[in-house]
């Protein structure tokens, strides 16, 4: 990683075939994401927000350009190597919490460990999961099943789950889209807190109010970056 850069997109384009015709979802997008940044990506539907998020997360491939994730060029990696890079680097938070209804909150947080071991931290996975639940304010809800949790609580569990592998980058796609405004604000406050602790977050949102919580706002239109501004309400965290 150069100068604390976590992700680097260089002249990235993405073209989908649609009805036999090529449709450009992203057009020569270049951007860098530094450690501890909190970025909101805004734009109308079809502007390429989700495509950008998927390319950043390594689950979608570019048509042109280069993507570096955690200092590793990922566009030519084998499937296995790409999966390994993704596991170490990124986590997702979705519009809905998407918890497995058969698992308790604690088990949902630990779910990523069913597929790979977390980074060595010397902390037992269960203790780490409990600590994460405490961090999102749900220490007492660890043994509850998803249907026993409110929407906001479930989303907090999914945030704890996203932190379980200690990711470099958290990608959040409309994380408050299904929540009422009060709960949405609580989630935004949680994001701020996590960001202040050094977590790098890239969040897609339609809502300018939610975007105002981010330190940097990127506006997309027709697959191109129209605006990339630092939100001067906050002081930029110069973590390297």
């Amino acid at each position: 990683m150069v100068n604390g850069t976590i992700a680097d997109l260089r002249e990235v384009s993405k073209i989908y075939p649609m009805g036999g015709l090529p449709v450009s979802a992203l057009n020569k997008v270049s951007m860098s994401i530094k450690r501890a940044e909190y970025i909101a990506i805004m734009g109308p539907s079809g502007s390429g927000k989700s495509t950008l998020l998927n390319i950043l997360g390594g689950v979608d491939q570019t048509s042109h350009g280069e993507v570096l994730l955690g200092g590793v060029k990922i566009d030519n990696l084998s499937e296995k190597a790409l999966l390994s890079a993704r596991r170490k680097t990124v986590s997702y938070i979705f519009q809905e919490a998407r918890l497995l209804s058969s698992l308790t909150a604690l088990e949902n947080v630990m779910l990523p460990l069913a597929f790979y071991s977390s980074k060595e931290s010397g902390v037992k996975p269960k203790d780490r999961a409990l600590a994460l639940l405490a961090k999102v304010g749900l220490a007492k809800r660890a043994s509850h099943l998803p249907h026993q949790l409110s929407g906001g609580e479930a989303q907090r569990v999914s945030i704890a789950r996203a932190l379980m592998n200690d990711p470099l980058l958290v990608l959040a796609d409309e994380p408050t889209g299904n929540l009422d405004s009060k709960t949405g604000e609580e989630i935004m406050d949680l994001f701020r807190t996590l960001n202040n602790e050094g977590l790098t977050i890239v969040m897609v949102t339609h809502d300018p109010q939610k975007a105002s919580h981010a330190r940097r706002v990127i506006r997309l239109k027709d697959g191109e970056i129209m605006e990339d501004v630092t939100n001067h309400k906050f002081s930029i965290c110069e973590t390297t």
């Binding site: 999966l83 497995l100 088990e107």
Partner: protein, 406 residues
């Protein structure tokens, strides 16, 4: 958390669907298991009979006078073996059997018994018969004179469908076909030669010439047809499962003039082969039904995968690899298979108690634990085979496709 723990919890959430899918496997497994239990128990019944009665030997006179039509049925009339020759034939038989046993190993020969150490067998049963052609109720028929207690050992399948066996020399039993064609029933009187004989019973159908015959005691038959001291054939039951009756037949043919001994071992072997082929045919039908069940399970699991796109997408987003997703679905398949196998075993065991007695008279259904193992293995194999493609399909779903559902 381990993948199997997650899979088990997810299955626990869908108990009814798992049970429903398992039932598809269970039905096919139960059919297969019931056939296997019935065939195994039936074969034991056959082997028990062979063990109890042994193979048989038929001794007939070298016949130059019987009509060809009767000879085709193995029935000879017109040529006889003198009853006085029976002890000589018995001696030759015994000597040949003893020699045969000696070839095979240690022999214990006690009075009235023979066999290897620890397994003494009763002496052979020599059942003499006298056949005579006559006309009864206007029908040409063969009358068989038999020694009933020996005949019931030689022809252990004999059974009375109506009435009872004859007990006196003025009594007869008749074959089922003869009784039907001549409207004969127990209590009727038949004219045999100059004697009036009372019908005491109708033989249960045997699908043999016995069905169109009249049977009385050997002594009565000899008296009626004036054939004192003569017999038409001797049926020998070895009364031990591995007695070398083939060698006894060879020795009798060599040493006793005027008779021909034929071993029935080949017939028993052929019967056993037919039994095995019939079982194989039934099993093949049942395997076909198992394949159909697999297709049903395949459809259910494929449908379930489409309904679980969100779950698949989530697991992929959380870092599940293709192999891990395949394992995730195969754990479910194993549980469905094991459940189906256990249910199939229980149903199959119950079914064999219904089917077994229909196919084999006096069958004793024996359900050994190995059938449970077979049922579980078959159920699991069928379920895994039906789930492999859906599992691979699920693992290949593109993450971005799955994400659309998230």
């Amino acid at each position: 958390m381990k993948i199997y723990q997650v899979a088990l919890k997810e299955i626990g959430k869908r108990k009814m669907r798992t049970l429903y899918t398992s039932f598809g496997i269970a039905v096919a497994v139960s059919m297969l298991i019931s056939v296997m239990i019935t065939a195994s128990s039936g074969q034991k019944e056959v082997f028990n009979v062979i063990a109890r009665y042994g193979h048989s030997l038929t001794i007939t006179p070298v016949d130059k006078s019987s009509s060809q039509s009767l000879k085709n049925f193995g029935i000879g009339t017109g040529s006889y073996i003198p009853e006085s020759a029976l002890p000589d034939i018995l001696n030759v038989y015994q000597d040949a059997i003893v020699a045969g046993w000696e070839k095979m190993g240690a022999l214990i020969f006690q009075e009235g018994t023979m066999g290897v150490a620890g397994a003494a067998f009763p002496p052979p049963t020599f059942a003499p018969r006298l056949y005579e052609e006559t006309t009864v109720k206007g029908k040409d028929v063969i009358v068989g004179g038999v020694v009933l207690e020996k005949e019931l050992i030689a022809r252990f399948w004999w059974d009375i469908s109506d009435g009872r066996f004859m007990e006196n020399d003025n009594e007869v039993i008749v074959g089922k076909l003869f009784a039907t064609l001549t409207l004969t029933k127990p209590g009727d009187t038949l004219d045999l030669g100059n004697s009036k004989m009372i019908v005491t019973g109708i033989l249960r159908e045997t699908d043999s010439p016995d069905d169109y015959m009249v049977f009385t005691s050997l002594k009565a038959c000899q008296t009626i047809f004036n054939k004192q001291g003569k017999i038409s054939m001797i049926n020998v039951r070895a009364m031990c499962p591995k007695c070398p009756v083939g060698e006894a037949a060879v020795e009798i043919n060599k040493k006793v003039l005027g008779v021909r001994a034929t071993s029935q071992m080949e017939i028993a072997t052929a019967q056993s082969q037919i039994f095995q082929k019939t079982t194989a045919l039934i099993v093949s039908f049942v395997v076909a039904s198992l394949i159909i069940s697999c297709i049903g399970v395949f459809n259910i699991i494929m449908g379930a995968i489409h309904g679980r796109m969100r779950e698949i997408g989530l697991l992929k987003a959380l870092g599940a690899s293709k192999n891990q997703l395949i394992r995730f679905f195969l754990y479910e398949a194993v549980l469905i298979g094991v459940t189906g196998g256990v249910i199939g075993f229980v149903l199959g065991g119950a079914l064999s108690h219904i089917v077994g007695p229909i196919l084999f008279k006096d069958i004793v259904i024996q359900i050994s634990p190995r059938f449970l193992v077979i049922a579980v293995l078959l159920g699991t194999l069928a379920s895994i085979l039906a789930s492999i493609y859906p599992a691979v399909y699920a693992s290949k779903i593109r993450v971005t496709e799955a994400f659309k559902s998230l």
